[in-house]
């Protein structure tokens, strides 16, 4: 990748500033050391900054029709999987799957959004858009994990929670909130990975985990590029511009501290080689679980809460 002269000049300027900062006596210690970290991050960023086209490529790949979905990964990563159905109250939401899985020599509870491959399955799965029943099913499975000491693995892949009348009547917002609260409280280790579209509240509902990962070509965003364009540009056709503005790609999410790691995909994207994609995903999930499993339950919970409590940037 060749760098433009202006980028090089900018990098040079930052490096000079960095050198100066190191020599500064610590007059206002906290402020100065904060500046160092920020500049270092900025330096890394210049090298890694994705262009508008690269961001949009992520959006397209994240939604690619051949991209592996949750059950494709389950089939490849797990030695056995028993799917659990129903929320024990009202219905079974096919847009989310939950079950007991044998993963890396132990039992885990796996929860993930599920999209459909062909038009029939897509309709059946509601395009991966969850009803409150789906979050209740997820919660039931996670409670079971907590009771039996099984780690929780979640795979996030949804355009968003379903925006329908009955979904509202059944308390869509409330269940998204309670599902997060339950994850905040889990005594067992948890890891989440965004494997496709991490669409807004519907995604974050099952992503309050000890470690949050993101596949290289996944996107994680507060609103779909089309939705953002429709509201802010008053034209859904400006989706590409919107995506470039709110930066839903993995590199930016990592930089902002939203995800802990980026899971590599086979060259060309996960859809070109599902087996290899699954192998790489399993590898990362194992690594993340290994990081948090040794911690004592209360300490892990405290750190998880801290991780999310410190999210965001503001001026004071």
């Amino acid at each position: 990748m060749s760098e433009s002269p202006s980028t090089q000049a900018e990098e040079l300027k930052l490096r000079e500033r960095l050198a100066k900062l190191r020599d500064l006596p610590l007059l206002r210690g906290v402020g100065v050391s904060g500046e160092m970290a920020r500049l270092k991050r900025q330096l890394d960023r210049i090298a890694a900054e994705p262009s508008e086209d690269e961001v949009w490529r992520s959006v397209e790949l994240a939604r690619h029709q051949d991209r592996p979905y949750t059950l494709d990964y389950v089939e490849r990563m797990c030695d056995d999987f028993v799917e659990l159905h129903g929320d024990r109250a009202f219905a079974d939401d096919p847009a989310i799957v939950a079950g007991l899985a044998r993963f890396d020599g132990r039992t885990v509870v796996l929860v993930g959004h599920q999209k459909g491959r062909d038009i029939r399955e897509r309709t059946h799965r509601n395009f991966g858009m969850t009803y409150p029943e789906g979050y209740r099913k997820a919660m039931r499975a996670m409670e079971l994990a907590d009771r039996h000491g099984f780690p929780v693995v979640t795979l996030v892949d949804t355009p968003g929670a379903y925006p329908g009348v009955t979904a509202e009547q059944h308390g869509q917002g409330g269940w998204i909130a309670r599902c997060q609260l339950l994850m905040a409280r889990l005594g067992v280790p948890s890891v989440a990975c965004v494997i496709g579209e991490g669409g807004s509240g519907g995604a974050v509902a099952i992503a309050l985990a000890d470690r949050v990962l993101m596949q290289e070509n996944a996107i994680y965003s507060v609103i779909s590029p089309e939705g953002c364009a429709a509201i802010l540009w008053r034209d859904a056709g400006e989706a590409k511009k919107a995506a470039a503005a709110f930066k839903p790609d993995a590199v930016h999410c990592k930089e902002l501290g939203v995800v802990d790691g980026i899971v590599p995909e086979p060259p060309g994207g996960a859809h070109t080689d599902s087996d290899e994609a699954a192998r790489l995903l399993a590898e990362s999930l194992k690594g993340s679980l290994a990081e948090v499993e040794p911690l004592e339950s209360d300490e892990r919970r405290r750190q998880r809460r801290r991780r999310f409590r410190t999210m965001g940037l503001y001026l004071e």
Binding site: V165, G173, G201, R305, Y314
Partner: protein, 281 residues
């Protein structure tokens, strides 16, 4: 000339509103029009039909808290523009404009207060500041309010009014959902009560995070409380919407709120709840 009331300002306002926008003091339900001081006296409830007008954050504090007890905190907190966000206008400009227009640092104010002589932590959102949207600053101020409630061992009362997460902060605004949820978790763990008063509108990201986690959820009549608003639901699903779609009354029928309390009764009602949760006395 002295002593005469200058009405030209009001007239200019009226003219500007001929583009179909209603004057803020005209009741959208029965079209009665009021002077500002009239509405202030009635707690911004239409005396004709009972419609609840929007209440700005500081006025809400005056309505709810005992006089002179509100001690605002974190007044210096301001939103940052981490993405250098620019749509049709720069986010920085929108922020500056909102601050000038509302006199607020962001879409929430919070601090210690007493309601009906019961001490509490009070956080109030303001829809007039960028639609009450939740970015890092709103999330942070709410989380700090939770922490103060824990350290002072008092309940938290939060009055919500929000269109959801603040898109201009991208993924960091979405992260305010788990952040505020974690703050409520700490509140719960410390057994500090959380009373949430949902006012019009409480939607999307705020409904899908801390607002729905109140120990007691109170709402004002006619408030829209929905994860997805009626317009988007209609456009994406083409479903026929019930007349009361997403309204507080519908939410009460489906079991999502504990009580719908008219504004005039809100203060004594919250006072009663605080008494219920008070330890010892």
């Amino acid at each position: 000339m002295e002593g005469r009331i200058d009405v030209t300002v009001e007239n200019r306002e009226a003219e500007r509103d001929h583009d179909g926008k209603r004057h803020p003091n005209t009741c959208p339900r029965c079209h009665s029009h009021y002077r500002d001081d009239e509405l202030e006296r009635t707690l911004r409830v239409c005396p004709q039909c009972g419609h609840h007008f929007a209440v700005r954050a500081r006025e809400r504090v005056a309505q709810l808290a005992d006089r002179g007890t509100f001690a605002e905190e974190d007044t210096e907190l301001r939103s940052h523009d981490p993405l250098n966000f620019f749509d049709l206008r720069a986010y920085k400009d929108r922020l500056a404009e909102a601050e000038v227009a509302t006199g607020l640092g962001d879409a929430i104010i919070a601090g210690g207060a007493a309601i009906e002589r019961r001490p509490c932590e009070l956080a109030v959102m303001d829809f007039a500041f960028m639609g009450g949207s939740m970015g890092s600053t709103v999330g942070e101020k709410f989380a700090r309010a939770c922490e103060r409630a824990v350290s002072r061992q008092v309940p938290l009362v939060c009055v919500t009014a929000s269109g959801g997460a603040r898109m201009q902060e991208g993924i960091l605004s979405l992260m305010q959902l788990p952040k505020t949820v974690c703050a409520v978790d700490e509140l719960n763990e410390a057994r500090s009560a959380f009373i949430c008063v949902m006012t019009h509108p409480t939607t999307a990201g705020v409904l899908a995070s801390f607002a729905s986690l109140g120990d007691v959820i109170v709402s004002e009549p006619g408030a829209l409380l929905a994860f997805t608003g009626p317009r988007v639901v209609q456009q994406t699903t083409r479903e026929k919407l019930p007349d009361d779609f997403g309204l507080a009354e519908s939410n009460a029928r489906f079991g999502h709120v504990d009580a719908i309390i008219p504004r005039a009764e809100l203060r004594p009602f919250v006072g009663r709840l605080l008494a219920m949760f008070s330890r010892g006395s």
